[in-house]
Structure formats: structure tokens, C-alpha cells
């Protein structure tokens, strides 16, 4: 039986759109519209999709930045909806870590690096200055930074180093789950591998679970055990990374893979066709009826606009939401 650390069940998040002097609600942005996923201990789940897919919104709910409109998050079996704010702060928050996309804006430019890394400890524990200092030094070494530089300011470090600082901060409280929102996309190409390798090493060492948000499929394949392909607030395909990439079933997954492959001119000559999707992602305020993807799908049938396909397991935990499969 898999050791599930976190489970999201039927999560929904709608944002009201208000207009006018009296701020009437004229519509809803259906950012996340019924998704379910599990994250096992020591494994990585990646949420993949393009902008507007709802991946960041999902992450925000896990991080308690937003409350779900409906649905539940279970952490180690406990229903988070049933915990009080104090309980959440004491029992759930310290088990989380967060790394954001932009290493330039994710740290207070006026705080020294040691204070940046120490903040989770200061807010959540009663450790004294000495204990905190040594923990900060420990963390810096873990992520490959020289503790001598703890007194410097973030702007004195490079982008890659700042992301390491962010990782150190995320690890401060010995979390079980770290949520990473596009951890390497803002970094230079030659630095990305450094950070990805660091993350994998830490995962192995501390049995960390990761929830990664990414749009780059190659990065996702390198880092993940499980992948959820999202489109317009719903999951189109879900499964073990290797299953998904070797045997993509959903037309959207196939299009994403095609767009991410390195197609050399000679591959085209050999007949490898690129899948080019027409149009753009519709607004989450007005998602298409039936299958949300059908308006851009190259394999769409008339029925696709009428019924909403459910996410069905086609074997070995590989789930697809498509009536063609």
C-alpha cells in the first residue's frame, strides 16, 4: 500500500468576478474545477500545464494561501478543513516548504540571507539565537552555499545561488512536503541542472515529497514520479511519469509532448509530424461545454462537446479523461 502523504480530493476553486459600483458578482473564474491527486512520501508529483490551467491555484490551496471553494485536502490522513487555524499553524504549516519561481522577488531585499533562512524558525519555533544560527549554517552547507556569506544580502548572490537560499529556507523546519512553483524556469540554462540535481539529492536524503509546478515537460520528466496534465482547471491525464511519457493517451498530452520535443529538420523529413494546436486556451470564466479541450483538439468528435469525460483508470494507475480512449 502506497504511503500517501497528501491527498487532494475533488478540489474546486472559483474566483468571483465583480463589476460596477456595487461590486456585483457577474461571473466566476473557474480556476480549478474538480481535481484529485495523491502525493506519496518521498516522491514527486508534478502539475503540468500552460498558463490558466490552474496549477498555481492548486498549489496555493496546498500552501493554505487560498481556501478551496469545495473539496478536501488530506494531510497524513487528516482533513485540513476540520483543523482550526491554530492547529494548522502548529501541525501543518511547519511540515511544508515553499520555493517560488522568481529568485529575485521571493526574498526581502532588506534582510540578510541568514535572516531570510531563519525566518521560518523564528516564526514557528522557540529556538534561541545560537541554535538558529547553527541551523542556518547547517542548511546553507546542505544546499551548497558557504555559511561565511550568511551576513550578505540577497542581491549579492547570483540567480542560482538565490534559488539555493530559497531551498535552504524551505528546508528550515524539516518539512515533509515542499511545493516548488517553476523552480528553475527563471534560471540560466547552465544553472538549472545544478538546482535540479540538488533537489533530487535532498529528496533522496530526507525522503522529501515534492509538488512541482512546471510547464517544461523535459524538466518534469527528469524530476517526477507522478504527473498530472492540467487544462483549464481539470486533469486531462494522470499517471506515473514513465507511463505517461512513453505512452501518452490524451490528445493534449500528445500535443504538449510534440511541442516540447527537439525536432531536427531531418526528423521532419523522416515524417515525424509536429502536432500544432489551433487557437488558444479559452477563458476559465467560460470553459467549453463537454470536454474542455475539445475546441482545440485535433482528434475531436461531435460527442466531445456534449459529455464531460471522467478521469478513468486504464490500468496501473494511468488515468485519462477522454472518450476516445
Amino acid at each position: 500500500m502506497a504511503d500517501v502523504l497528501l491527498e487532494g480530493r475533488d478540489l474546486v476553486k472559483h474566483y468571483p468576478v465583480r463589476k460596477g459600483l456595487l461590486q456585483r458578482t457577474v461571473g466566476w473564474v473557474r480556476a480549478v474545477d474538480g481535481i484529485s491527486f495523491t502525493i506519496e512520501r518521498g516522491k514527486t508529483l508534478s502539475l503540468v500545464g500552460e498558463s490558466g490551467a490552474g496549477k498555481t491555484t492548486t498549489a496555493k490551496q496546498v500552501l493554505l494561501q487560498e481556501k478551496p471553494t469545495s473539496g478536501t485536502i488530506f494531510f497524513e490522513g487528516e482533513d485540513l478543513n476540520l483543523l482550526s487555524r491554530a492547529q494548522l499553524k502548529k501541525e501543518y504549516r511547519p511540515r511544508l516548504g515553499s520555493v517560488q519561481q522568481n529568485p529575485w522577488s521571493s526574498m526581502d531585499p532588506r534582510m540578510k540571507v541568514r535572516d531570510v533562512i531563519a525566518e521560518p524558525l523564528v516564526v514557528n519555533t522557540k529556538q534561541n539565537k545560537q541554535e538558529i544560527r547553527s541551523r542556518v549554517a547547517e542548511l546553507m552547507e546542505e544546499v551548497g552555499l558557504d555559511p561565511e556569506n550568511a551576513g550578505n544580502y540577497p542581491h549579492e548572490f547570483s540567480g542560482g545561488q538565490r534559488q539555493r537560499i530559497a531551498v535552504a529556507r524551505a528546508m528550515a523546519l524539516n518539512p515533509s512536503l515542499v511545493v516548488l512553483d517553476e523552480p528553475v524556469s527563471a534560471l540560466d540554462v547552465s544553472i538549472r541542472a545544478q538546482i535540479m540535481n540538488l533537489l533530487k539529492d535532498l529528496q533522496g536524503q530526507y525522503n522529501l515529497s515534492y509538488m512541482v509546478i512546471a510547464h517544461n515537460l523535459a524538466t518534469v520528466r527528469y524530476m517526477s514520479h507522478t504527473v498530472a496534465i492540467m487544462y483549464l482547471g481539470q486533469i486531462m491525464e494522470y499517471g506515473e511519469a514513465e507511463d505517461l511519457f512513453l505512452n501518452p493517451l490524451h490528445p493534449y498530452t500528445k500535443a504538449l509532448i510534440s511541442a516540447s520535443m527537439l525536432t531536427l529538420p531531418e526528423d521532419e523529413e523522416k515524417g515525424a509530424k509536429q502536432i500544432i494546436l489551433p487557437g488558444e486556451m479559452p477563458s476559465p470564466m467560460n470553459p467549453p461545454l463537454g470536454c474542455r479541450f475539445h475546441t482545440r483538439c485535433t482528434e475531436a468528435m461531435p460527442e466531445c462537446g456534449q459529455t464531460v469525460p471522467s478521469l478513468r483508470d486504464v490500468g496501473g494507475g494511468h488515468k485519462v479523461a477522454c472518450i476516445r480512449v
Partner: protein, 296 residues
């Protein structure tokens, strides 16, 4: 064709070397002026040759650089009561600077607190605080000051209250804007994620990052406050004679302006110099700090 001969390399290389701060006159001159005024304010009574209220009707209306028969010299002349203008200007510095410091302290403190709370907390708190701020901004400050003076009677503390009563509102507006912008920043979201309380976020994260625009506002306010006090004293709603407030001095010298111009001129020049110094310094600071204002 060799385009390099059109490029003045020496000029460009010189530009590449760091310019020393001291060669920037727009910084040096205002700082010197303000420094002198502050010294005068602190050590005035020791530096002034005469007490400010020493009346000597036999030595009245003496022009600058004159010496009395008894040997007493008056560098800037005497006024209609025989009081030494230079000494009065020096004592006046004390009044101007102390008022400026007090008013700035009160208005900047209130304004910053209101601004940060409004900007960060948002929602109804923001709406409520901003309505109060808007109402305060809508009143003409001089008019209110006159009303207060009429109610409380003119005097030193009346001026302080009059200038502080509405003076916090511009700070609140500006700081609220900055706080609002900062609240969206990633590092603020991070602080919330790890469970920091709103108070901690406001004190530890928002406040240190609004210090730059705050300093600029304060520097520009110095001139404004001194000028307003001078105007109030000039129209009689400020500090009344025999106090050597620069504004009151200008007013007192008004009837004698065509003959004994120095009585109004020197205090007026003092006002002008200090106001300009404050403005130049504020502008210089803004230019210096501006790209770094947007540190994110």
C-alpha cells in the same frame, strides 16, 4: 571605415570611473546649507552676538555693516526697535528647525502607520483609513491653521498642532501606495506561507522597504513646513512678536521695506535658502534612490 575615431574614448573611460560623491554640487550645497542652519539652531544662543529681544531705540534702523558709536557692530543691521537682525535670524533658525523636526516626527509617524496598515490590510480597513485621509487632504491646510490659531490663540504649540493636524495625510497616501505594491511581492507571500502574523509582516517586511520613499518625502517636507510656518507668522496666525520667527520678521519689516530693506530681506533670504536646500536635497535623493526604490 574605422568608426572608432568618432568615439571619444577618453571621455567614455572617464565616465566609467566612479564619480566621487563630493563632486556633485547639487548634493554638497544643500547639505552645507542645512548643516549650517541646524548648527545655528542648536548653538544659536551661544553664537548670536546679541539677545534677540534687546531693544535699543537709539540704534534703530541701522543698515548692514554699521557700527554704533559705542562700538557695537551690526553685521546685518538693526530693525525698527534697534534689535540686531543677525542675532534674530540666528534665533529664528531655532524656531524653524525645531518646528520642522517636531512636525515631521508627528506627521511622518502617524502617516506611515496609517499608510502601512491601509495598504497591507486592504479591504474595509483600507477604505476607512483612506476616506479619513482623503477628507484631510481636501481641507486647505493654511485655512485650517488659521482657524486653529484663532481658536487656540497664536503661538508655538498652535503652529505645531496646526501643521500636524492635516500634515500626516500626504504621507499616508504615499506610503499606502508603496505598501500596497509590496503586499503583492513574492517575499511577502513567502512570509505569510511560513505563518508570520500580519503585525510581523508589516514591521519586518513592509516597513524597511518603504524607508526610501519616506526619506525623500521627509526631505521635501522640511522646506514646506518652514515656509508654511513663515506664512502663518507673517499673517499673524503663527508665532507672534517679539519672537524672532523668520516669517514674523518679514512681516515686521514690511512698513520699512523701501528704506530699511534689510529687516525683511535677511529673514526672507533665510527662508528661501532653506526651502531650496531642502528641495534640492530631496530631488538628489530621489534621483539617487529611485532605481533602487524598485528593488524588486
Amino acid at each position: 571605415m574605422d568608426t572608432t575615431k568618432f568615439i571619444d574614448f577618453d571621455k567614455l573611460e572617464r565616465r566609467a570611473r566612479p564619480k566621487r560623491i563630493f563632486f556633485q554640487l547639487t548634493f554638497i550645497i544643500p547639505v552645507v546649507v542645512l548643516f549650517v542652519v541646524v548648527i545655528l539652531a542648536i548653538f544659536g544662543p551661544l553664537l548670536a552676538p546679541y539677545p534677540y529681544d534687546q531693544i535699543n531705540m537709539s540704534a534703530r534702523l541701522l543698515p548692514p555693516f554699521s557700527t554704533e558709536d559705542g562700538g557695537a557692530s551690526h553685521l546685518l543691521g538693526t530693525d525698527h526697535m534697534g534689535r540686531d537682525v543677525l542675532s534674530r535670524v540666528i534665533y529664528g533658525a531655532q524656531i524653524s528647525i525645531s518646528i520642522a523636526v517636531l512636525v515631521i516626527f508627528i506627521t511622518a509617524s502617524i502617516g506611515t502607520v496609517v499608510g502601512i496598515i491601509a495598504g497591507y490590510m486592504g479591504g474595509r480597513t483600507d477604505a476607512f483609513l483612506m476616506r479619513i485621509t482623503d477628507i484631510s487632504l481636501a481641507f486647505p491646510p493654511i485655512l485650517i491653521a488659521i482657524l486653529l490659531a484663532a481658536t487656540l490663540g497664536p503661538g508655538y504649540w498652535t503652529v505645531i498642532i496646526a501643521l500636524s493636524f492635516l500634515g500626516w495625510a500626504p504621507y499616508a497616501r504615499l506610503i499606502r501606495g508603496e505598501a500596497l505594491r509590496l503586499s503583492e511581492a513574492d517575499f511577502v507571500a513567502q512570509a505569510r506561507i511560513i505563518g508570520a502574523s500580519p503585525i510581523r509582516v508589516m514591521i519586518r517586511h513592509i516597513f524597511p522597504n518603504i524607508i526610501n520613499p519616506l526619506i525623500i518625502m521627509i526631505t521635501l517636507a522640511v522646506g514646506m513646513i518652514i515656509l508654511t510656518e513663515a506664512v502663518l507668522s507673517y499673517i499673524g496666525a503663527g508665532i507672534p512678536p517679539p519672537s524672532p520667527s523668520w516669517g514674523a520678521m518679514v512681516e515686521e519689516g514690511r512698513p520699512y521695506i523701501d528704506s530699511s530693506w534689510w529687516i525683511s530681506f535677511f529673514p526672507g533670504a533665510a527662508i528661501g535658502l532653506v526651502v531650496m536646500a531642502g528641495n534640492f536635497l530631496g530631488d538628489w535623493l530621489r534621483d539617487k534612490l529611485d532605481p533602487r526604490l524598485r528593488q524588486i
